[in-house]
């Protein structure tokens, strides 16, 4: 086709201008991970044929990952790909916050504190959350978890160390 369609041309241009598209970012992520993996495995000995060392697998896999990273970056720059959609920051902060809160408090403060903390904190991630409803639900769930995991299954999970001592 000698004469190029102007619409196509501009579309091509705008696609090329979003060079930080999903493929490229994916490739960069792989490259970063590969580099990190190789760095972590660096002190390990790759060994020899009769004594395959502990380093062979991690290093060669890291190299392979890096290779794919390069491929993705290249194909991302050349082709026309979608952009990465936005992150939901609120979800990340509150859900992960809830999980971390559980991890931090379960041993010193016990299930009766860590559980509700995790639930309430993570519930804040959703705009639909209704305060009274979630409070009641949390209370019921915590009680349920206590009955199930502690009373019934005798899991060695702390309940409320500050008050009960176990």
């Amino acid at each position: 086709m000698a004469v190029e369609d102007p619409a196509e041309q501009s579309a091509g241009e705008s696609a090329r201008s979003t060079f930080l598209n999903r493929e490229v970012l994916a490739g960069l992520f792989l490259l970063a991970s590969a580099a990190f993996g190789y760095y972590a495995a660096y002190p390990l000995d790759a060994g020899s044929m009769s004594g395959v060392g502990s380093g062979l697998m991690p290093k060669s896999v890291a190299l392979g990952l890096g290779g794919f990273g390069v491929y993705l970056v290249a194909s991302g720059l050349v082709g026309d790909h979608e952009r990465v959609e936005g992150f939901s920051l609120r979800g990340i902060i509150f859900v992960l916050g809830g999980i971390l809160a559980f991890a931090a408090t379960v041993r010193p403060m016990g299930l009766l504190v860590a559980g509700p903390l995790a639930m309430l904190l993570s519930s804040l991630a959703d705009q639909d959350t209704r305060p009274l409803e979630i409070l009641i639900f949390t209370a019921c769930m915590t009680l349920g978890c206590y009955l199930l995991f502690k009373a019934l299954l005798h899991l060695p999970i702390p309940v409320l160390p500050p008050l009960l001592g176990y």
Binding site: S50, H154, P156, G165, Y166
Partner: protein, 323 residues
């Protein structure tokens, strides 16, 4: 604000009243026994056996908590760092209490110093076994065969730091054998390949190999123990064959350092009673184990064992790592 004398006396009395019973009437609540390995393994099985009996003597439940990882050192580190109030005890094995210092440079505990010793729980003698088709007919032939062929042979073990690894090292280095070491993830897979003939020999706890020996799927050359064990009456001992190789795996009960003496005494006593129970003796026999007797029992016996084993095993392992 005036603190009346009455209030002060009442406060002190209250403190005294709450502090006392914890020691006088131990135990007042359930005790946690940490097993630094997965449920169902040799240490776990024997712990559940004895703690079930001890629960009855002490009048409080003993709950087994499995905290596995890093050859058992994670669980034992947790135990060493726990409150020495008698409500956390642990059962480690030869790996965690003797081999660990040589294998883990960043170990967070010292088997000889970080614990209040309670007692050895059991001994499990090692058995020298091989695949069914290995030519030698008895131990003397086996040793000669190994001397001539060890470099072409394969020794299987359950991973660095496992009992089969440590005892294998001591065995091979003592006699100067140089087999290729094939690592497995646990005793199951290693035994599987031994039965299948993919590897040549192993030195492992009797508990693991008794069923296979009895069924004839593998060959047993000797038990590395002064006397024959009840579960393997037809397998000679290294002692009677004149070979100097005695090696037992063992499990030991410990508590965090600083345990009050009277609590320690109670635990030692309860464990001792468990080990004298006829039902438990019978179960021990089934598992190819023996309970410690006489001077081996109790804190002093365990401390002596730990120091002896650390001294014996550490140079062997360090030499291997240096290669």
């Amino acid at each position: 604000m005036k603190i009346t004398r009455r209030t002060a006396i009442a406060a002190v009395a209250a403190l005294g009243v709450t502090a006392m019973p914890a020691f006088a009437q131990y135990p007042t609540k359930p005790i946690t026994a940490i097993v630094p390995f997965a449920a169902g393994g040799p240490t776990d099985v024997v712990t559940r056996l004895v703690t079930e009996h001890m629960s009855r003597t002490l009048g409080q439940q003993i709950i087994v908590e499995n905290i596995g990882g890093a050859g058992g050192t994670i669980g034992m580190s947790r135990a060493a760092a726990a409150e020495p109030d008698g409500y956390t005890i642990a059962v480690g094995n030869m790996g965690t209490q003797s081999a660990a210092p040589a294998l883990y440079p960043n170990l967070k505990y010292d088997p000889a110093k970080s614990f209040t010793q309670i007692s050895i729980v059991n001994f499990t003698p090692q058995t020298i076994v091989s695949k069914k088709d290995l030519p030698p007919k008895d131990l003397k032939e086996m040793l000669a065969y190994l001397k001539a062929n060890s470099e072409k042979m394969n020794y299987g073990h359950a991973g660095v730091g496992s009992i089969s690894y440590v005892s294998g090292f001591v065995f091979n280095s003592q006699f100067g054998f140089k087999p290729a070491l094939v690592a497995y993830k646990g005793t199951g897979p290693a035994l599987n390949d031994l039965v299948g003939g993919q590897i040549d020999y192993m030195v492992d706890q009797s508990l693991n190999v008794i069923p296979q020996i009895t069924a004839g799927t593998i060959k047993a050359y000797a038990v590395a123990h002064p006397e024959r064990i009840a579960a393997l009456p037809n397998v000679p001992t290294t002692k009677e064959l004149g070979v100097d190789f005695i090696f037992s795996a063992w499990n030991a009960m410990v508590a965090p350092k600083g345990l009050p003496k009277d609590i320690q005494d109670k635990l030692v006593d309860a464990l001792s009673k468990a080990m004298d129970d006829p039902a438990i003796i019978k179960r021990y026999e089934q598992l190819g184990s023996t309970a410690p007797k006489g001077a081996d029992r109790g804190p002093a016996g365990l401390q002596k064992l730990v120091e002896k084993e650390v001294a014996r095993i550490t140079p062997v392992l360090k030499a291997a790592a240096a290669k």
